[in-house]
Symmetry: C2
Subunit: 406 residues, 2 copies
Amino acid sequence: MLSVEEALSRILAEIRPLESVSLPLDQALGSVLAQDIVAHEDMPPFDNSAMDGFALLSQDSKPQAGQAPRLRVIGGVAAGYVAQTRVEAGTAMRIMTGAPVPAGADTVIQVELTNSDGPQSEWVEILQEVPPGNNIRPAGEDMRSGQTILTRGQEIGAWEIGILATLGYAQVQVVRRPRVAILGTGDEVVDIDAELQPGQIRNSNSYLLEAAVRQAGGIPQRLGVARDTAKSLREKFSQAVHADLILTSGGVSVGDFDLVKDIMHEQGAINFWRINMKPGKPVAFGKISGIPLLGLPGNPVSSAVTFELFGRPVVRKLQGHTRLQRQQIEVVVEQDIQERAMRRHYVRAHVTQRAGKFIARPTGNQGSNIMTSLLQANALLVIPEGGATFKAGEHIQAIMLNWPED
Amino acid sequence: MLSVEEALSRILAEIRPLESVSLPLDQALGSVLAQDIVAHEDMPPFDNSAMDGFALLSQDSKPQAGQAPRLRVIGGVAAGYVAQTRVEAGTAMRIMTGAPVPAGADTVIQVELTNSDGPQSEWVEILQEVPPGNNIRPAGEDMRSGQTILTRGQEIGAWEIGILATLGYAQVQVVRRPRVAILGTGDEVVDIDAELQPGQIRNSNSYLLEAAVRQAGGIPQRLGVARDTAKSLREKFSQAVHADLILTSGGVSVGDFDLVKDIMHEQGAINFWRINMKPGKPVAFGKISGIPLLGLPGNPVSSAVTFELFGRPVVRKLQGHTRLQRQQIEVVVEQDIQERAMRRHYVRAHVTQRAGKFIARPTGNQGSNIMTSLLQANALLVIPEGGATFKAGEHIQAIMLNWPED
């Protein structure tokens, strides 16, 4: 049996990031940059005032024989405008936060440190001496024209969007998001709005995987459920020709009725692996008509967990991410956990932070057919191959399922 | 000056969750349940086989004088079908994983523990004695008809989607997502594709806030930039009548040109607060024509940070979440951090996990006008009011910006 690590590395070796596309900035959130972002101007673009107050020459702020200097106010400049006159010795100009510092002035004093006759005052008294550059944000203080600010491969979060907007990148080159076709299989599987007939279950996997693909940054496309016939499978696969990845669930185990394997072999090169893990074990990987295909087990819990461990990294790599794996931390188990399986066991658990410690509580019956074990689970505890016992209070490794990859 | 906590609690006291709507399951990811989810059937709905193998009577698996018992194979049952004949003593039925256990049989033996003449074999030898219930997943083992599985107020993640699908919830009642109108203000602010004229800057805040609102679960609507005239502001606010929340940036400080305040007072009840924090400080909150309005500072860094601390909790509360604040943990500072400000300081930082410890590195120049301090920042370090010095290796509280609320 393959180890999880070996399987993942074989899979990822076959995956290449997709090509880049140009997106309007307001659609780029969560994408990965396919270009370096260079500032084409200084930011801020001009010396500007950090305060509402008066622009003046610093030398004019010196007290005269203990008296506050009184300057003539020659006008005002608001943010978005440029003063048409120069500030000369003995004069000052009213200035608003963000407005360009007028020519001649070398400093700004905030309004609270002045006296005047109100907003239209023709004079201002300077109540404190201020050095040159006071309250002035110099051009280029934040970013310099020509400087590389973001680099290819970085993920675009909300704050990066703000920086791109500041720099005028209304369009941005990003790696295209993968289209992921999702196919359920099995004569027993019916759609979710169906009344169940004896022997039937609903297609939970496709909906779960659709949501998980979306969270991973992919664009999911549910193809419905293929019946256990070669014809039905061929028909469904033919709908996936524009996908960048095909996910199937079910049909990869050893049973007589598992046609998926045969069709896969017919249309491409597929490996069927038994992976040394539970839940999970049977996973298929290969290509069908040139499109990577990841075949997950039909069992919902196994399907959910194997998507996390194998599917999500694939979707992320296609999308240009280089951080592909969830963070793993050491947590404290709240209750004894005992496991005797030979395979590595991923225990669904809820981890909370209490008093600086991360505490894990398994989410009930861990049978691989028990979907309620997925409820409230935000982590997978890793029990090594061969089994182990963890006493309450002992440490165990946990894969944190809703922390970002690192 | 208000403390951050006091301001947040005053704001949240005015916010009520929105009404519920019915969504198709494939659009419910990330929403909050507005109904309890009750199982209307047992899950699994019927006793079914956990393995490919043979269904039989356990008593027939007992070796006969040291010989493996040989049973007559009376047919097969695949997943999705129901056996039409009964398994009687001395007979067995081929069974596939997930198929309903046929009447009469009380156990299943996996194919690996049998001998037969291939897939069409009319006989099977049972190589190991198996107890009743072996490899059978009983009806209702996972969920019982009538049992409440998820409750109102829970967030719907990918795994909850799987459970809802299993239970046949093709539509689900969730709290409606808030529509958030976003308005930039200021004569100096131009759109992001504009060539900058002297004195101008680009509208980075609206794009940053649009992305941050989306990440918080809201539906953003950018209204563009209002000029610094009463007419322009009134016009823009009139476009926000269908919003559940209005976010403005800029126009809330003390300057002569800050018309936003006047218009807000004219159209609603607005408080202007100085909050004891940096970056940030001036924040407005109130209602305009009955719609909650949160006025953030114009400075991009202040706008980004105040949205995290005040805007995101509001968007989440509107959307029905009860966990409104990001997790805070103790981290180790990698370098000395010294701060003498009287206001509480939120230092943008990058936190990484190394050898079980969370290490924080401030992201450069922390001036509130320095947007590059947002780059790579995934945490806000909290420096208490009055200032403090943290030596390299000491602990400090960090708000984790990309961990889920807890």
